[in-house]
Point group: C7
Chain length 95, copies 7
Amino acid sequence: MADKIKIIVLDILKPHKPDIIEFGLLIEKSRGVKCVNMSVYAVDEKTESVKLAIEGPDLDYKKIKKTIEDHGAVIHSIDKAVIGESRIINAPDLK
Amino acid sequence: MADKIKIIVLDILKPHKPDIIEFGLLIEKSRGVKCVNMSVYAVDEKTESVKLAIEGPDLDYKKIKKTIEDHGAVIHSIDKAVIGESRIINAPDLK
Amino acid sequence: MADKIKIIVLDILKPHKPDIIEFGLLIEKSRGVKCVNMSVYAVDEKTESVKLAIEGPDLDYKKIKKTIEDHGAVIHSIDKAVIGESRIINAPDLK
Amino acid sequence: MADKIKIIVLDILKPHKPDIIEFGLLIEKSRGVKCVNMSVYAVDEKTESVKLAIEGPDLDYKKIKKTIEDHGAVIHSIDKAVIGESRIINAPDLK
Amino acid sequence: MADKIKIIVLDILKPHKPDIIEFGLLIEKSRGVKCVNMSVYAVDEKTESVKLAIEGPDLDYKKIKKTIEDHGAVIHSIDKAVIGESRIINAPDLK
Amino acid sequence: MADKIKIIVLDILKPHKPDIIEFGLLIEKSRGVKCVNMSVYAVDEKTESVKLAIEGPDLDYKKIKKTIEDHGAVIHSIDKAVIGESRIINAPDLK
Amino acid sequence: MADKIKIIVLDILKPHKPDIIEFGLLIEKSRGVKCVNMSVYAVDEKTESVKLAIEGPDLDYKKIKKTIEDHGAVIHSIDKAVIGESRIINAPDLK
C-alpha cells in the first residue's frame, strides 16, 4: 500500500465543451480512479476554471494529465496531494 | 458502478410557475433520480434563480436538461459534479 | 416513496397573533406533517417575518398554504424544498 | 405525540435577582420541562437580556410565561419553536 | 434528577496567584463538581479575566461562589447555565 | 480520579534550538504526560512563540514548568486548563 | 509508544520540479512515514510554498529533513508537532 497516490486536487482551465459532467466521465475511466469531484469557480466567454479532485487506491497522474490535455484543458497547478494512506492529517489548531 | 454520474448541482433561471416544489417533483420523475434539493437564492419580477442539486445512482443529464427546459427554465451553468463513487473527496486544508 | 415532498422551507409574514407556537401547532396538524421548526428573523409593529421549515414523509403543500393563509399570514417565498428521498445532498466544496 | 411543543427559545429581559441559575431552577419546575439552557447576552445597570431555551416532551407555554412574569421578567419575543417531533430540520444549503 | 444545576459558565476576575491550575483544583473539590474548564481571555498587571465552566450532576453554586471569593477572585457575571437534564438544546437556525 | 490536572495549554517563548520536535519529546518524558501538541504562531530572529497543549491522566505542572525553563524557554501564560474529568464542557450558544 | 513523533507539519519552499506528487512519494518512502498531505499555498516564477503534513507511528525527522533538502527544497519552519499519543488535544473554547 506504501507510496501510492490517493488524492489529487488540480486547478484546471477548460473550454466549455466537453462540460464538467462529460469531462468527469472521461477522467473517471483512467486506471485506478474511483471518484471524481468537479467544481466550477470562474466562468469566462470561452473557458471555465475548475477545481478537480480525484480519488483512488493508486492514481496514475501521467495518464490523468494526458486525459485532461487531450480534451483541450490545461492544468494550472497541482494544488493538493495525499500520498500513502488515504487520510486527511489533523494538525493541532491551538489559539 | 464505474463511470456513473452520482451528483449534479445546476444553477438555473426559472419562471415563478411552476414553483420549486412542482419543479422538483417533475425532475424527481426522471430515470435514476433519487433525491432533489432546491434552494432559491435570488428573486426577480418574473423569474427566480435556483441552485438545484440532484442525486441518484446513475443520473441521465440529457433527460434532466430536457425536463428543465421543457418547463420554461434555462440552465445557467453546471456548477458541480460527482462521478464514479458517490463521495465528497476530503482534501488537506493545512494552514 | 418516489416523487414525495419531504422538506419545505417557507419565508412568511404573519401578524403577532397567533404567536409562532400556536401557529406551529396549527401547521403541525396538517396531514403528513411530522415536525415544524419556526424562527423569527425580523419584527415590525404589527407583523413578524418567520422562516418556517416543515418535514414529513409526504407533505401536502396546498393544505399547508391554506392553513397559513387562513390565519392571516402570507407566504413571501418558497425558499427550499427536498423531493424524493429525505436527504441533504452534499456537494464538492473545493477551494 | 402529534401537535406537542418540544422546544421554545425566548428572549427575555430580567432583573439581576433572581440570577439565571435560580431563574432556570424555577422554570425547570414547570410541568413538562426537562431541560433549561440560559445565556446572558447583554447586561445593564438593573437588568440583563437572556436567551432562554426550554426543551421537553410537551411544554406548557402559558405556565412557562406565567413563571417568567411572576419573577419580574418580561418576554421580549418568542424567537424559535419546534413542534411535533423534536428534531432540527436540515435544509439544503447550496452555494 | 429534576431541578438540578448541571453546567455553569462564570466570568471571573482573579489575581495571578493562585494560577488557573491551582484555582481549578480548588473548585473541583467542591461537592458535586466533576469537571472544570478554565480559559484566560485577558491579562492585566495584577489580574486576569477567566471564563470558568463547571459541570457536575448537582452543582452547589453557593459553595462554588464562596470558594472563588475565598481565593481573592470576584464573579463578574453568570454567563450561562444548564438546568435539569445536562443537554445543550439545539434550536432551528434557518437562513 | 478527582482533582487531577488533565489538560494544560501554555503560551511559551523559546529559542529556535531545541526545535519544537525535540522540545516536545523532552516534555513528553515528564511523568503523567501522554500527548503533546505544539503549534508555532510567531517567529522572531532568535525566538519563537508556541502554543503548547499537554494531556495526561495526572499532569505534574511543576515538573513540566521546570522542563520548559531548563531548556531556555519561558512560560508567557497558562491559557487553559481542564481539571477533574477530561472533558470539554459544552455551553449553550444561543443566538 | 512513549516519546514518539507522530505528526509533523512543515512549511517548505520548493522548486516546481519535482512536483508535489513526486515530492510526496519521495517523503512517503522514509522509514516510519504512513501518510503525506501536501497543499500549495503560494506560487512564484521558480518556486512554490507548500504546507507538508506527515504522519506515522515513529517519524524520523532527520531523514525527512534530508530527503526534503536533497531535492532542492528548504524548510521554512516546523509549524506543528504531535508527540506521544497521536491525538489532537481539545482545549476549552469558552466565549
